[in-house]
Amino acid sequence: MNLGPGVDALARFLAGPEPAWWASALAACIVWLGPLLLIVLPIAALGQIIERKVAAAMQRRHGPNTAGLDGLVRFLVRCLCWFLPRATQERLTARLCRLPGMQLARRLGLGQLVADGIKMLGKEDLIPGNADGWVFRLAPYLAMCGALLPFAAIPFGQHLVALEVPVAALYVAAAGGLTVIALFMAGWGSGNKFSLLGGMRAVAQVVSYEIPVGLAIAGVVLWCGSMDLQRIVASQYNAHWASFLGWNFFQSPFLALLAVILFVAGLAECQRTPFDMAEAESELVSGFNTEYSGLRWGLFAMAEYAEMFLVGAIIATLFLGGYQSPFGEPAIIALPAWLAALIHALMLTLKASALLFVMVWLRWTLPRLRVDQVMRLCWITLVPLALLALFGVALTMLAAGSVAPGSAYGRIPALPELHLTPLAHALAWVLPVAIAALLIVLARRQHGRLHPDLARLSGAGR
């Protein structure tokens, strides 16, 4: 079996030099589940708290801050130190609760996470009378699958990838598309008109936004000459100490534009404001998950944050150097393999989390688009822009040769070399940006008039 060096090594470790298929499968599962359990699921669970805290700070509120971990500590002390006298237990609890981290946990409302979890588990699992039973029950699990399956192909490190296939980019886009089926199942199965409308909106929106997503991925594939995510990451390697200079985002303004398009389309794919048509609480009550409660609702919520993290990870992988560190990447590669893997996994997590934060940030800034405007944005703005950027990427490549190699990682065969001299690089940036700026100035002059009353209201005249 050839599932990539990391998985193969693990399989050989499990079942000898010639591992059976089941050993390979087991190894792949372990490599898939490791980052999933250690990184993705905790972040998906934390997402709710992050969202609430960020929203609170932006709205000058406190947010969740009363549920600390004190009760949990007391409970654990009672359970673990049952043999001690009660007074000693209390003293121990008090001392533990005085630790500085505990206060921080309380202020951050981390206890809310535990409380919410217990509440979700304890809630009645309501199924409406005219729900389509198994469709309704299955949908949340499918949503979770759609959010977690793509992580199998996302490289968290040089060897930390479960599914190292040559068409990984395609697989990620395809597996991520599973969520929309879950949303539509939820909308249809609930037997509620608001849910049905939410499900319809979700389908229309996600199917449309697959196109800019596909075009953005195509741009990177064109630039790097591969659909293998490992190879795409490797091609962004730069031996300079400021290794972020090698990232795709900084290679060409067209790639940067594609990154933005992918981010916007990714927002739409995971139904986040300003594209939260499927949920739209002021229009559709709660859209597709109106009728869900308890654990099933919790799964939807987790899937939402897992998917946001996924979008962040995909953008990081394609445009922001994947698991590479922005500085001193050559030194990190020279470290022992396990340490490098740790740092790499951390780097990808940080990048994806930063993008997740931007998504949360956007949600508490922007209003929601209307159905027709979502479609207009997709077909009239994003798709033409993506085509333009794709054309620009091709043009740049035509002008400069071909693509940078990932040979620093050794096992990846060298690709044809792209010779971008610093002058050409600068030119590749300056020319398109200058043209865009010129066009914007022209456009502003012709269409950008603001009524003086509005200008005064927002203090522009001052």
Partner: protein, 397 residues
């Protein structure tokens, strides 16, 4: 199950959606019966009456002065203006007979303008904030609410309550300013102007917000008059009409109220009288209210010892007049944040009104809903409700 969803075959293959009375965006308990073909609404009919409390009937059973706290409950978002409308109406009744004429002290008139305009600011903040929230932007609403709380703090110090003030009384106001109130109001206005600019940077000029409102449900000037729209909803359609300027009561005549009207603020895609105009007209009214408060503070005569002092007092004595008011009928209208709040009061000379009839802005606005909500998107319904600034207890009373 699937066959249940597509019901009401008398309208063809249409879905009938009951939006409200429990719905996050219907501003209380308004209910809309919507016939829709997927996202496109073919017809929406408002269904009212979920908040009816027979306040007008109560008005016939309590004494003149006892009805003032009930006016708080007619429109609790701007209770000061609701108090004021009723008190102005009763004063007009008393003035219809020279024997019972009442002269409101000038200081009280200034205080009335100050509290009414402060409450107009806080009411409009709810209106524009809630509209932004209906459109999915949650943050501006809470920033607006923070400013509303600052106004409520001033009101709490002034009269002891934050929502149902019962501050304006027949013949004046219940309390004089507390020590340091002038400075506090002035400094609030300065702070508020800065916050208001931030609010507008955050949402008013936001492209998505403008796109959502531009050209949605435009009401022409003729339509607005024909459907009896009042207040900001009328002015947004370009009709230059404001009771404070055109039929002034109190000292509004001296203040020179400047009236903003809708001009198609949304630009190329907008039209005069669309949702964005209704929104912007409210913002401009907030701006104007700030100016009026400053002006009224400037005009405020110094405080006198006696509450009934005609210049510096805060409360003319009306106890005797109210026990034996003149017989007759008065119609008075005032400009509340949601438009004209008019009272028709019939007196049979007794201690209680014979009839109290109240006409409110939200009631006028809800009439045009069915006309506007045809062939629009489902999402536009919440935009329209938000832009007309519905307060449901005011509709039902």
């Amino acid at each position: 199950m699937s066959s249940d969803l597509l019901i009401e075959n008398q309208h063809g293959e249409r879905m009938r959606l009951s939006m409200g009375p429990q719905h996050p965006a219907t501003h209380g308990v308004l209910r809309l019966l919507i016939d829709s073909d997927g996202e496109v609404v073919s017809r929406a009919v408002p269904d009212q009456g979920y908040l009816h409390r027979a306040i007008e009937k109560i008005g016939e059973c309590v004494e003149w002065a006892q009805f003032v706290p009930y006016t708080d409950r007619i429109d609790y978002v701007c209770a000061m203006n609701a108090n004021l409308a009723y008190c102005v109406a009763v004063e007009a009744l008393l003035n219809s007979d020279p024997a019972t004429a009442v002269r409101v002290p000038r200081r009280a008139e200034c205080l009335r303008v100050i509290v009414a305009e402060l409450n107009r600011i806080s009411s409009h903040l709810i209106a524009v904030g809630a509209m932004a929230m209906d459109l999915g932007a949650y943050t501006p609403f809470l920033h607006g609410l923070a400013q509303r709380e600052a106004v409520n703090d001033i009101f709490e110090k002034l009269c002891g309550q934050r929502l149902t003030y019962n501050y304006v009384t027949i013949g004046g106001v219940a309390f004089d300013l507390y020590p340091g109130a002038e400075q506090e109001i002035a400094s609030f206005l300065d702070r508020f102007e800065e916050e208001f600019r931030r609010f507008n940077q955050l949402i008013t000029n936001n492209r998505i917000f403008r796109e959502r409102c531009a050209g949605v449900a435009p009401v022409s000037a003729e339509e607005a008059i024909a459907w009896g729209l009042v207040g900001p909803n009328l002015r947004a359609s370009g009709v230059d009409w404001d009771i404070r300027r055109d039929e002034p009561y109190g000292i509004y005549g001296e203040l020179g109220v400047r009236v903003p009207v809708g001009r198609g603020y949304a630009g190329a895609r907008g039209r005069v009288g669309d949702c964005y105009d209704r929104y912007v007209v409210r913002l401009l009214e907030i701006e104007e209210s700030v100016r009026l408060i400053r002006e009224a503070l400037r005009l405020l005569p110094p405080k006198a010892d006696k509450p009934s002092d005609p210049l510096g007092g805060h409360q003319a004595d009306v106890g005797k007049q109210l026990r034996k008011p003149p017989r007759g009928e008065v119609r008075v209208r005032t400009e509340a944040p949601r438009g004209e709040m008019g009272y028709v009061i019939v007196s049979d000379g007794g201690k209680q009104p014979y009839r109290v009839r109240c006409r409110t802005g939200s009631f006028s606005a809800v009439g045009i809903f069915e006309h506007l909500m045809r062939g629009i998107f489902l999402a536009d319904i919440v935009t329209i409700i938000g832009s007309f600034d519905i307060v449901v207890p005011e509709i039902d009373r």
